[in-house]
């Protein structure tokens, strides 16, 4: 059994003045100093930093720079699902008794280069033997999927704009969010097109971030238990997927989770809304809405604190909290654990007892789900 006994985050921003090690120490040093004593392993989740601020064996250098002399260290890289993978590894090390305390540090850097270069780095989340070979980034694929969704299910663009509006509304209360201002759905349509039908307000801002988790075998003072982490690999490209509007890997990962557990109730979810269409497809893959109906459910407030569904992305999501690629799912797990512990400093989900983190690389080449529950 593995428990989260500490969680910290820094605000996501373009931290031009901070190296990747400094971002990591800013997050780790916000933890109680006793909670980083006797750490057996430091697992770093970082992805795009390999291109933005190259350092091989990054984790050992981070452990040293943080003064964690007695720790063992390694980096997990799995693109946008890196953080969830690091949490899995932490649970595995604790469950196997190879460790009793693991520090997970999600940290990534996107602001070391101008945006056009950073987009190029981000495009490497796609298959380098097909999409990124042709300079095809995430945005273009998201645009293709969004148009396909709109045509297939006859959903209009404005209905799909309620998602980013909700995310900005939620992020306004989150001190660690990058974009803390509200927008209307209409404003999403008026924003600069980046990959028509997608506009700038359908996607995440470019920002750096770091978040840390302490994972231990002891439930004392824990924020939440890591009940299970499941995952699945998917098709490398949407071109191979029998139905590109289904995220097969997420459906498989989630079914692996529900086969093991009786998930009667999920109070809060943080999912991977790298684009508006990503959020919509994930909600449908989790069966929180029928196919073609998720955007309408969002527009009707189903996933808000006052709605009938689980509260989704009270943090503001990738859209407004931000998306420091390899660090993002560490933020998500920290947020859900804090909600369950009742200490999330932003929009609170009243009486949350369980929560789910959904992390997806690209549009489904790899998907992870992390299920957390309160400690009795």
């Amino acid at each position: 059994m593995a428990y989260i006994t500490g969680a910290s985050m820094i605000n996501i921003d373009r931290h031009y003045d901070k190296s990747i090690r400094r971002l990591a120490s800013d997050a780790v040093f916000k933890l109680d100093s006793s909670s980083v004593e006797n750490v057996d392993y430091v697992i770093v989740a970082s992805s795009i930093s390999y291109l933005q601020e190259p350092q091989l064996d990054l984790a050992s250098y981070i452990a040293s720079a943080l003064g964690l002399r007695n720790a063992r260290a390694f980096n997990v890289e799995a693109g946008e699902v890196s953080g969830a993978t690091a949490v899995l590894m932490a649970k595995s090390l604790v469950d196997s008794r190879l460790a009793s305390k693991v520090l997970v540090v999600g940290v990534d850097k996107l602001s070391n280069y101008p945006s056009a270069v950073t987009y190029k780095h981000i495009s490497l989340l796609n298959d380098s033997e097909s999409e990124s070979l042709y300079s095809i980034g995430l945005g273009g694929i998201a645009g293709i999927l969004m148009r396909l969704y709109m045509e297939t299910y006859k959903v209009d663009r404005l209905t799909l704009a309620y998602w980013p509006a909700l995310m900005h509304s939620n992020a306004k209360l989150n001190p660690y969010a990058m974009l803390r201002f509200t927008i209307t759905p209409e404003k999403v349509l008026d924003a600069m097109p980046i990959a028509d039908p997608i506009t700038l307000l359908d996607t995440f801002p470019i920002g750096d971030g770091a978040a840390a988790l302490v994972v231990e075998s002891k439930p004392r003072d824990a924020l939440a238990e890591i009940v299970a982490v499941e995952s699945a690999v998917g098709y490398p490209s949407i071109t191979l997927s029998p139905d590109p509007l289904r995220i097969d890997s997420l459906e498989l990962a989630y079914s692996r989770l529900t086969e093991k557990l009786d998930l009667k109730r999920i109070d809060v979810i943080e999912l991977h809304d790298s684009y508006t269409i990503s959020a919509i497809l994930q909600l449908e893959s989790l069966r929180l809405a029928e196919r073609g109906k998720a955007a309408e459910a969002v527009a009707n407030g189903y996933f808000t604190v006052n709605g009938d569904g689980p509260v989704v992305n009270p943090s503001g999501g990738l859209k407004a909290r931000g998306h420091p690629i390899g660090a993002t799912s560490v933020y998500q797990v920290a947020e859900v654990a804090s909600q369950i512990a009742g200490i999330f400093p932003g929009l609170k989900v009243p009486d949350a007892k369980s929560g789910l983190v959904v992390s997806v690389n690209g549009f489904g080449s790899n998907s992870y789900v992390v299920y957390l529950r309160g400690v009795e």
Binding site: K120, L133, Y134, A142, G143, R147, A195, Y235, P236
Partner: protein, 132 residues
């Protein structure tokens, strides 16, 4: 194109110059680009096949936020193109955004894809244009 190492460019030339995919001898399905095993049934018993050079638009996007390699030709029209035996995402050329509709017929053409500023390596490959 990101990794413009000369061996990478050279290795990928065949499936960039011609539409070479793989057909699975076990399940009969086709995939592109060639992999070491079938993405549908995991069989390793594959044969290379040339894909049809015509197809129709299943969906598309007009991309303005292009990466630094493609900046000069922004916006880029990207299409999800149904070739019958499989699908492909490719750049649509010789067309204005308003010419493209779902269902439009396209054909493959050989074009310059990009160039690496540092090494001078020029990348060629296939794009698709409307069938008139």
């Amino acid at each position: 194109m990101l990794s413009k190492s000369p061996p990478v460019v050279w290795r990928s030339r065949i499936y960039r110059y011609r539409l070479i995919g793989c057909k699975c001898k076990n399940c009969g399905r086709v995939h592109y680009p060639p992999a070491s095993a079938c993405p549908y049934c995991s069989s390793r018993d594959l044969e290379e096949v040339e894909l049809p050079r015509v197809g129709k638009v299943l969906s598309y996007s007009i991309v303005y936020a292009v990466d630094s390699d493609a900046r000069e030709r922004s916006p880029v029209i990207l299409g999800l193109i149904d070739l019958g035996v499989t699908r492909i995402i490719a750049e649509i050329t010789d067309a204005n955004p308003e010419d493209i509709k779902i269902g439009s017929q396209l054909e493959a053409v050989f074009r310059r894809i990009g160039e690496d500023g540092e090494t001078g390596v020029i990348i060629y490959g296939l794009k698709f244009r409307p069938v008139i």
